[in-house]
């Protein structure tokens, strides 16, 4: 075995050497890897051919793009990065498999602090201080910036998604109801659900369920808690309670076990009760069908209340798509934390042979409207047309073959607004997000690698119980004690304690 290993190592060394000497030709080719794209090879070729002429002229570099899709990015990026593939820039964030903070810790990303003033001066001025703050993480080379954050929807706000059309049909004054806000525990709330159910039943729709939600979002919305950045991906077990009107107020809370609070118990009981009364569909309660059902209900407008993690202007999109009057009723004020600040980023891989050039490119991408527009929206005359007022209109036929994930690319606020969005869209967009307050713990990031074994065990306990409780499928009176006990056995106390001690350390200095 040793011999084989030695042989393998020797072989690889030789190849690595050959690889490095063969490099060093002009112009530099930069390879970038995006997430969530829907781009055909032909369309990509067409757009890049034109963009590369511009890029060579501007920064003396050519761009090659890996159009990662939603489905393949996570699976292939892990293998490729661990295997040392020659990629210069990679999409990262705090929810993808190449999780920004963990990968910074393990040395996958180049630390940018020293390079930014020279190669990313424009970036430094364009991206607000607060967002840079969120991008700071404790990487292998000390605390610093390991990726360029995208200037997109950088705040979180939980909203009730209200079917205004149906509410009006039930005889309510929609504006008044929305103005007053919704209280999950109130009798009025239940009464509205009941009325909607009866109303639909009278029309012959017997399997109408008025409350169509994403259970995990509903839980955060009702209990007014934030995701703690660095919590287990796909298994958020930590909660941080904040002031819903002024998220930056320090109300003396610390990080807690999400499921061990009286608020959670109250939430679970209420949800179970509403489910028992037939307001929540069994399809919502089945992990495998929950989201398909949600999408179907939203598209066919067959719901009364839903949940939505708000994005600026989304009610207009939704109203158009669903053909009803969609209202967003805020449950809290928008807040900013690392979870939203790190929602989409571009890192420079440690493997990159031209990190400076790569940063130069990212600088250009985030500040030059032509580059951002071309990469994000395609070419004028191919995927979109310019209108006289400065907005653009997509040529749907080609746009369908060239649709990268808009928010994943960088500073989308320099894109031209579409005709639907209207001329002032990006100004309003910026104003909304810039108004968001930071949570009291600022841009704290929990490093859960110190309690990795506990985390692994907790994630499996979570998968067994959390969804059932949050969706009202299981009775908290019987299930919650079991759940809490198993969480404890999996090391939940240590997990929470680690988070709190790190936060105290962070706040102290």
């Amino acid at each position: 075995m040793k011999k084989i290993l030695a042989l393998a190592l020797a072989l690889i060394m030789v190849f690595a050497l050959v690889g490095t000497t063969a490099w060093a030709e002009e112009p530099v080719t930069l390879k970038i890897w995006f997430h969530g794209s829907n781009v055909t090879p032909d369309a990509s070729q067409k757009v890049l051919d034109e963009l590369n002429v511009y890029l060579q002229d501007k920064i003396g570099a050519k761009l090659e793009v890996i159009w990662g899709t939603w489905g393949d990015f996570d699976q292939s990026v892990v293998t490729a990065l661990a295997g040392g593939d020659d990629v210069d820039m990679v999409f990262t964030c705090n929810w993808s498999a190449d999780e920004y903070n963990r990968y910074a810790r393990d040395g996958y990303w180049v630390k940018l602090d020293d390079m930014l003033p020279e190669y990313g001066a424009d970036l430094l001025s364009v991206i607000p201080e607060g967002i840079w703050e969120c991008a700071k993480t404790n990487g292998y080379d000390g605390i610093g910036i390991y990726a360029v954050p995208a200037l997109k929807d950088t705040a979180t706000q939980n909203c009730w998604d209200v079917n205004g059309t149906l509410l009006a049909e039930l005889g309510y004054d929609v504006d008044a109801v929305c103005e007053a806000g919704l209280d999950y525990y109130s009798d009025e709330f239940e009464e509205m659900l009941q009325k909607a159910k009866d109303y639909k039943a009278a029309q012959g729709e017997n399997d109408f369920y008025p409350l169509v939600v994403e259970p995990m979002v509903l839980e955060r919305l009702v209990t007014v808690t934030s995701i703690v950045t660095g919590d287990l991906p796909g298994a958020a077990v930590l909660s941080f309670y904040y002031d819903k009107d002024h998220p930056s107020n320090d109300i003396g809370s610390e990080i807690v076990n999400k499921f061990a609070t009286p608020e959670f118990e109250k939430y679970a009981k209420r949800t179970y009760e509403l489910a028992q009364k037939g307001f929540i569909s069994p399809s919502t309660q089945n992990v495998g069908t929950s989201n398909d059902y949600l999408n179907a209900c939203q598209q066919s407008a067959s719901y009364l209340f839903g949940t939505q993690s708000y994005a600026y202007g989304c009610e207009i999109d939704f109203s158009n798509a669903r053909g009803i009057d969609v209202r967003m009723v805020p449950a809290d004020a928008p807040y900013m934390d690392s979870t939203s600040g790190q929602g989409a980023m571009m890192a420079i891989s440690a493997v990159s042979k031209n990190p400076e050039k790569a940063l130069e490119f990212l600088n250009l991408l985030n500040t030059d409207p032509y580059v951002m527009t071309t990469l994000n929206y395609g070419l004028e005359g191919f995927t979109f047309e310019k209108n006289d007022d400065g907005t653009i209109t997509f040529i749907q036929e080609n746009r369908a073959n060239y649709s990268p994930w808009r928010n994943g690319m960088g500073n989308i606020r320099i894109l031209p607004p579409t005709a639907d969005e209207g001329l002032s869209y990006w100004d309003d967009f910026s104003a909304y997000y810039n108004s968001a307050e930071a949570l009291p713990y600022g841009s704290f990031i929990f490093d859960n690698s110190v309690v990795e074994t506990e985390g692994a065990a907790i994630a499996n306990v979570f998968a067994e119980y959390a969804f059932g409780l949050c969706s009202g499928a299981t009775d908290p009176d019987t299930v919650l004690p079991d759940f809490l006990q198993k969480l404890e056995a999996a090391g939940m106390s240590d997990f929470v304690a680690a988070a709190n001690s790190q936060m105290a350390e962070y706040l102290a200095g």
Partner: protein, 303 residues
């Protein structure tokens, strides 16, 4: 012949029972596929209203028209799948037959060594990342057809199965006789042994062709930029995974996820792809079957 056949067969009653058992099972095997066809022909609105159902509220052929007209990649992927399957099946079956034939020969000096060499890799491997590194960085298996063929060329499982087929169908006297006649090893192998081992060979070829036709993982790993090379199954898995991922991540992605999900391919489109994948290989199946079942007569009828 008929007379002999009667003598040598089971009673009509027993055969009827066999038919019921096997027939029922076979029907169970085919029903889900019928279900897939029904979904692929259901109107999207019907699925939204009543979920997946054997009896949709409305039928529609739209998705087929859409898939065939609007997705140029489907035709390319078809071509890729066929190319990969044909070349891959031929090479892998040949390599497997040669390797296992040598292992089957009791007079092969290094038989034990090579037997273990292949068996050991069935259990132990370097794992995903090291294999990936060797393939892409040393063997150059990325962004090309070779990357979709080479990694599946040898299957230790198939080698063991093929060796078993040789053992049970090729009498050693036959090889001995051929050798005495002055036949070389290769000519013995191709002219004498392979014809006798046809059912086994066809079975292995079938398994190999299925493995190539069904594979999507190699494409996920090795085809990233040059997606023109994507086989059909990979195309389907990508669409499928997109939907699954958006579902799983919707809490993190917020409104983006909903906007993306409305753009994602519909459930009917996914089922159309399943149909498009299964039909060609199901049509190719009888080709292999001719050799596998042909021998059935030998056992029961020949007299």
């Amino acid at each position: 012949m008929t007379k002999n056949h009667r003598l040598n067969s089971i009673s009509a009653g027993t055969e009827a029972v066999f038919h019921v058992v096997i027939g029922l099972f076979s029907i169970c095997c085919i029903i889900p596929f019928v279900f897939v066809i029904i979904i692929s022909l259901s109107a999207e609105s019907s699925i939204r209203e009543i979920g997946y159902s054997f009896i949709p509220r409305a039928w529609s052929f739209n998705t087929y028209t859409y898939a065939i007209q609007r997705l140029p990649q489907i035709w390319r992927s078809y071509f890729n799948s066929i190319l990969i399957t044909v070349v891959g099946t031929f090479l892998s079956t040949l390599i497997c037959a040669l390797y296992s034939y040598a292992l089957f020969r009791p007079d092969f000096k290094y038989r034990g060594f090579f037997n273990f060499l292949s068996f050991f890799t069935m259990i132990f491997g370097g794992g995903l990342v090291p294999t990936y590194v060797i393939c892409t960085q040393i063997l150059g298996l990325k962004e090309n057809y070779a990357a979709l063929i080479v990694p599946l060329l040898v299957s230790p499982f198939n080698i063991i199965i093929m060796r078993t087929f040789f053992k049970s169908s090729v009498p050693l006297d036959l090889i001995e006789a051929a050798t005495i006649d002055g036949s070389g090893e290769y000519s013995t192998f191709f002219r004498v042994v392979l014809p006798v081992a046809k059912p086994g060979l066809a079975t292995i070829a079938l398994l190999n062709s299925l493995a190539y036709w069904n594979d999507w993982y190699l494409s996920l790993l090795y085809i990233r930029q040059n997606k023109i090379l994507q086989p059909l199954q990979a195309l389907l898995m990508e669409l499928q995974n997109n939907v699954e991922y958006l579902n799983r991540m919707s809490a993190s992605l917020g409104a983006s996820a909903i906007q993306e999900a409305t753009r994602a391919p519909t459930q009917t489109l996914r089922m159309v792809l399943v149909v498009l994948i299964v039909v060609p290989i199901a049509c190719a199946y009888p080709f292999f079957q001719r050799y596998i079942v042909a021998g059935l007569t030998i056992g029961s009828v020949k007299g």
